[in-house]
Amino acid sequence: MGEFIVTLLTGLSSAAALFLVASGLSIIFGVTRIVNFAHGSFYMLGAYIGVTAVTAVGGGAVGFWVAILLAAVAVGLIGVAMEILLLRRIYRAPELFQLIATFGVILVIQDVTLWIWGSEDLVGPRAPGFTGAVTILGQRLPEYDLVLIAVSPLVLAGLWLLFNRTRWGTLVRAATLDRQMVSALGVNQRWLFTGVLFLGSALAGLGGAIQLPKGGADLLMDFNIIAAAFVVVVVGGMGSIGGAFLAAILIGLLQTFGIQIFPNSTLILMFLVMAVVLIFRPWGLLGKPEIPGHGVVEAPEAPLRPAGRGLRLAGALVLAVLLLLPVAHLAVPAAVDDFLLVLVIDIMIFVLFAAALHFIMGPGGMVSFGHAAFFGGGAYAAALLVKFAEAPMEIAFWAAPAGAALLAILFGWFCVRLTGVYFAMLTLAFAQIAWSIVFQWGEVTGGDDGILGTWPSDWASSRIAYYYMTVGFVVAGLLALRRMLFAPFGYTLRAGRDSPLRAAAIGIDIKRHQWIAFTISGAFAGLAGALFVYSKGSVFPTEMEIARSFDALLMVLLGGVHSLTGPIVGATALTWLNDLFSELSYWRFLLGATIIALVLLLPDGLAGLGDTWLARRLGLAAPASGSGANGQETPA
């Protein structure tokens, strides 16, 4: 009994940080409609700044709490800086672009933190007056846990007062409920948004600082909290603070009790809960269904055209270079070395992966946050066949796209019921479940150690042979994807994206088409996974991680979502940049800064750069299209 109560209280106390981060995330999303991926970084900064502040302020109990509040305010100001310097310029950009921008911020903050505080974990200062433990029915519980348990309801009450008793809070609430009202605010909108960013970021900072006596500060905090915070926000309902409170407690308890009951599946549990909630209550426990047609009106995409001479020429040129590269390698090995061949193989693989994701993102308008499930899932399908059946490459290779397609059929059936951010979150949840299974089911998958020994058959085992095999599959894959885009299926998919209202009113079963597209996309991602697992000779759970899904997302968005050229250019650029920067000590900073710069300078993606002048010179670019009348999607 005592053990039960202590576990319960531990769960409640661990909910505190989760609630603070999640409520901040939720408030920011509610008003600005920006999903701030950097929120975990703000939490981490809160912890680091907190450590420094406690030392600097000193002065016992009062000093400790002053320092914690200072840390929260400092992080709030960092959030304001992000709003003014970055977000303010991209509110009108597509939702996803904002996401990518905040992802760039994560990378920058990681390296800045590393640079200021070093790579060693910091031990958190203890809270004066709460250093002991209380005994409950023979079980000990740190006193500070009781402080943390009190924090969530206090903050919740404070937020309630703020939102219900102040003019500013009323405005925030109104803006969360009605997007159109926000634009009617005019000048005040800026301050509303800046204020919201301050509040939301400060809450995350407070969360980071307040958990110091329990957890300290380390460089992995950002990613560790962000996944859980998303789960909380989604389960609670986006924009609902009460929901975040409930969900934080639910997840906090799930984690502490889960460890005791299923020590090996705690990760799965959390995402399983999220998946179940999304399936039965897509808008979360206390959230409200999204009213369609209130989002940003995006500029319409230009109609599809068959490849012009310029594009054909460019394609032929690239293909020629690809085919001749090994010849150059044999002729002048000093200039075209083995590393270059490996790099090009990597690039090709990610081009195919990104193109597969693009198939649902571009024409389908479905943004998957979890496509690594199919890339890594495919790779694992092949590797498992090698490990347990000693299948030769000719067979195991095909298990990858087939396995990924099956996985996509399963996940897709649930996911296509949702749209927008909710769809994205459900794909993330499923991908995390898949990842947790692979990570925690060590007997079969090897867990963290991965699966080794997936080498190509003899005929494909030389670098050059495998290189040509990769080129063959990737080029064929791209052509097939393109072919489908131009076929009735691709048109139907775009119809469902352009105007779900009209598409349904001409007999199109949108969900069914999206499900098929999701499956095709999964299969091609799996094919990329097959090429990957045989090029590396091994596969690890990292291939199914969130970070891998984000790689693909970044590639598509940076390249540009409006044509298949986008993912090709994006994957090439990003893989190459990664390779280039990985030698440097602060490569994350460079990559993050590059991403932010690209977002600010090229809102249409890298391929959009082509549209502006290069393509126009080649006669490739479609004429700029004017404003359309297609913003609204309420049936009127």
Binding site: P306, R483, M484, Y491, A495, L501, R502, S625, T634
Partner: protein, 253 residues
């Protein structure tokens, strides 16, 4: 003669707002039926329930004798109902012709074909439909750059692609110049006469309504308050009150 569409006590409330309340009526083949009423009367909500965009709270909708209430729009379309929207809904990333082709492709159930390019399919028929609504010259333009009146005509071409038995037009002439209105309504007359389809339309321009409708229904605050021939409706006291005399008088001229 059985009616093409029979609506029985159709109702829908949004929160406390009773948008449509116990509305019953019938549409016959070859009939041009107008549904009029002030803004917010519930006309669009009615249309949304007829084609499945909104699920009715209760009430029956019989299409050729079959209850279609609560079916999704794509199923209702396959049963022979076409629709235009008050706020146009077209595919902005496609050309005018492709928009119509899309409807034709869907009509042939060919939306799942993965290989043969879509560009060459159904072009002749799409052009014929565009010609019908006077948009033949603009087939290659992107839908996103069209004038609003032209978009409305594209919508009509799309709505005709599956040879519907019942056509719903929600303010088909809004945003059009007077001459365009006359042309469009003349086209509607022709189609009704030719194919014996039933057309239900809403319209704000009373001249248009009284000149073309075979029968008129008047909706006010979700309730049907009058129904009959144009003459009967024109003479109705309650209707005159709602419209403060102005529009109806104008229609008499």
């Amino acid at each position: 003669m059985t009616a093409l569409l029979e609506v029985d006590r159709l109702s829908k409330a949004f929160g406390g707002v009773r948008a449509v309340q116990d509305v019953s009526f019938a549409v016959n083949p070859g009939e041009l039926l107008a549904l009029i009423g002030p803004n917010g009367a519930g006309k669009t909500t009615c249309f949304n329930m007829l084609m499945g965009q909104i699920r009715p709270d209760h009430g029956a909708i019989l299409l050729k004798g079959r209850d279609i209430a609560g079916l999704p729009p794509h199923r209702i379309w396959r049963l022979g109902v076409g629709r235009t929207f008050q706020i146009t809904a077209t595919f902005s990333s496609m050309t005018v012709r492709e928009n119509v082709q899309m409807a034709l492709i869907s009509h042939r159930n060919a939306g799942r074909r993965l290989w043969r390019p879509a560009a060459g399919t159904e072009t002749a028929q799409a052009d014929a439909l565009l010609d019908r609504v006077g948009m033949a010259e603009q087939g290659d333009r992107a839908c996103s750059v069209l004038a609003y009146g032209d978009l409305k005509r594209v919508e009509l071409a799309i709505a005709l692609a599956n040879d519907p038995d019942l056509l719903l037009m929600d303010e088909p002439t809004a945003g059009m110049a007077p001459r365009e209105r006359i042309e469009l309504m003349r086209l509607a007359d022709e189609i009704v006469a030719e194919r014996k389809i039933g057309v239900l339309f809403t319209e704000h321009d009373m001249d248009v309504v009284f000149a073309h409708a075979h029968r008129i229904m008047v909706l006010n605050r979700g309730e049907l308050i009058a129904e009959g021939t144009p003459e009967a409706v024109r003479a109705n006291e309650q209707v005159r009150e709602i419209y403060l005399g102005s529009s109806v008088e104008a229609g008499q001229a």
